[in-house]
């Protein structure tokens, strides 16, 4: 077992040669290293932070934001071993088939391959995120003894299922750094460098290959890593920053010939209390409002639009969660009493619940990261985020909620109130998933993507990108499990490359 190496002990000016450099020790970087453990590949994993949070390192993430109100750039991610899994909520669900499709009603949509391509990697990804057996939409069968799903008439919304990363004490998810530290130390051909900040990707003069990485520490050391192949796995914000700021050979930045790096930034908007759902009989199975553990699977039911409904109404994906019980105002009580009476249903035990949601953003090239004039403590340019969210995202979601309301009425089981309508009303209840995506999007066509379907940067022979920055369309599922699956696919590709 080899200990982690503190980069502050690496001599200034040193050059480390390796087969594969993995830049970033988050879920993508760690999954990649673990997946290649048995391969005859010498690896260096470069992590900016240590094994714990450090304020000075975290400050390297600071940037600025303009446009739609968004999270602080240094507040929505974590810069130490394990990356943002150190604060994730553990929600897991594989992307749906439609999330990969080119949707002619959604500009810039579609992956260069179908869901089938990623399916073999969902089970091993599920294992790495420690979410138990692969259940998902078989959740209703697994939870039969706990309660029945909400009664809905046939239509566009159905009960979908999320699973959760394993619970440790009162802490829900797997923190990749803590969980896999010993496994990383056991990999004979891996050197994990902590406190090692990659500050530039240096291309060969002909701009077709990566030559080396410039590494710096906050202690002042500077050294190089010269890999045969490198994988950028720093998250969707930092991946774009490194590609844009490494502009000594290609002045527009690496992989940015078509001005795509940093564009299409996306997250999942999570408006709170966006609707109120009433169930006439007051019976809500507990797995809707909190997690239920069944035979090793931690399950939670949500409500999602079917793929057919999305296609027929040109709707992006969404997920709807049932939250806490709420009291109805006078109008609400009158509406419930009147509707139930007219439908011939007893509403004497009716209960109302606040409903939250997670929305798929429509890909938007103007929602983007650009380099700022300011520099961080290591001399790297900081980023500015130009955030945009089209109001159509909310209008589309209202359609899905209205369909849910229709299905409840048609089944005589309940009804829905849509709580937000105007731009300002949505803004007032807005929260975010901290799911950064899209800034180095994948496409077989170099004019439309930064990386190719193998996650190789177009035009650069030995530089790959891992993580949700390559997602060209986003779906409504949380990205962690999906980016791990995609990373395992990349690992399979690299294994062949090094054979």
């Amino acid at each position: 077992m080899s200990a982690f190496v503190d980069a502050r002990t690496v001599p200034d000016g040193e050059i480390l040669e390796t087969d594969l450099a993995i830049i970033g020790g988050g879920p993508a970087g760690i999954s990649l290293a673990l997946s290649l453990a048995a391969a005859p590949i010498r690896m260096v994993l470069l992590e900016s932070g240590g094994t714990q949070f450090d304020g000075a390192t975290q400050a390297l993430y600071a940037g600025s934001e303009t446009g739609y109100r968004y999270l602080k750039l240094d507040g929505s991610r974590l810069r130490f071993l394990g990356g943002s899994t150190n604060h994730w909520g553990g929600w897991c669900r594989p992307l749906s088939r439609i999330d990969f499709e080119v949707r002619d009603w959604m500009a810039y949509s579609g992956w260069p391959f179908s869901r089938k391509e990623l399916e073999p990697y969902f089970a091993p990804a599920q294992s790495l995120v420690e979410a138990g057996p692969l259940v998902y939409d078989k959740g209703a069968q697994w939870t039969k003894s706990i309660g029945s799903p909400i009664g809905l008439a046939d239509g566009g919304v159905y009960t979908s299922w999320f699973q959760f990363s394993k619970m440790r004490g009162s802490v829900l998810p797997t923190h990749f750094g803590e969980r896999y530290a010993d496994d990383l130390k056991r990999i004979a051909r891996l050197t994990t460098l902590l406190n090692a900040n990659v500050v530039a990707l240096r291309l060969a003069k002909d701009a077709t290959r990566l030559d080396h990485l410039d590494v710096a520490t906050l202690g002042g050391q500077r050294f190089r890593v010269r890999p045969k192949v490198a994988v950028l796995a720093c998250g969707a914000i930092e991946n774009a920053r490194l590609l844009l700021s490494s502009n000594d050979v290609m002045t527009e930045g690496i992989g940015n010939v078509n001005d795509l790096v940093g564009r299409f930034f996306a997250d999942h908007p999570i408006p709170r209390d966006c609707a109120t759902m009433v169930l006439f009989d007051g019976r809500l199975a507990p797995y809707y409002s909190s997690n239920a553990t069944v035979r090793g699977a931690i399950l939670r039911a949500t409500l999602s639009p079917t793929e057919e409904f999305q296609r027929s109404r040109n709707l992006p994906a969404s997920l709807t969660t049932v939250e806490n019980e709420v009291k109805l105002d006078d109008l609400g009580q009158a509406a419930v009493a009147t509707v139930a009476d007219a439908l011939g249903v007893d509403a004497g035990h009716a209960r109302a619940f606040s409903v939250g949601c997670g929305l798929e953003m429509v890909p938007d090239p103007e929602c983007r990261l650009v380099l700022d004039g300011e520099r961080d403590a290591l001399g790297m340019p900081r980023l500015k985020l130009k955030m945009r969210v089209a109001d159509s995202n909310f209008a589309h979601y209202r359609e899905t909620m209205k369909e849910l309301g229709r299905q409840l009425l048609a089944a005589r089981t309940g009804m829905i109130r849509l709580n937000q309508k105007t731009h300002d009303e949505w803004l007032a209840v807005m929260d975010w998933g901290n799911h950064h995506m899209g800034t180095t999007r994948m496409s077989a066509n170099p004019r439309q993507g930064v990386v190719d379907p193998d996650c190789l940067v177009h035009g650069i022979a030995n530089l790959y990108v891992a993580g949700s920055s390559v997602f060209p369309t986003y779906g409504a599922s949380n990205p962690t499990m999906n980016l791990v699956a995609l990373t395992l696919r990349l690992a399979a590709h690299l294994r062949k490359q090094f054979r």
């Binding site: 109120t276 509406a335 009493a337 009147t338 439908l343 309301g405 009425l409």
Partner: protein, 129 residues
């Protein structure tokens, strides 16, 4: 200190009658609430009295009239015509369920997603007698 008052047979009987009356009223309210509610009168009574509690429906109808304008645009006379036509040979609940499967069959009233026919009925309930 005054001596304790004697419990007379008349007082016991009076108390029992009062308790019994209150209990009977409570049961009646539970079992047949419509009996005690205000019944609608006027031109739309035949429609509005299909609802168990026209006063609750009137609250919804007022919200629709105060809302986005669709309620005002339809107008009571038109709403009554539509409903009478819709209810010919159909029960109220069937009319509402039919609304849930046809285009334009749902409306929002104060955010509540309702069958259009029910909103019209509420609009009539909100009309002055």
């Amino acid at each position: 200190m005054s001596p304790p008052r004697r419990l007379t047979r008349r007082a016991v009987a009076g108390g029992a009658i009062a308790v019994g009356t209150a209990a009977a009223a409570a049961v009646a309210l539970r079992v047949a609430p419509g009996f005690f509610r205000r019944r609608a009168h006027g031109a739309y009574a035949d429609l509005v009295n299909r609802l168990g509690d026209p006063s609750q429906a009137a609250r919804v109808g007022s919200a629709w009239l105060d809302g986005d304008g669709q309620g005002r645009r339809i107008g009571a006379h038109q709403a009554a015509d539509d409903l009478r036509r819709g209810l010919a040979g159909r029960s109220l609940d069937q009319l509402l369920l039919d609304d849930t499967v046809r285009d334009g069959g749902l409306v929002e009233v104060g955010g509540w997603v309702l069958p259009l026919s029910l909103a019209k009925l509420c609009l009539l309930a909100a009309q002055p007698d």
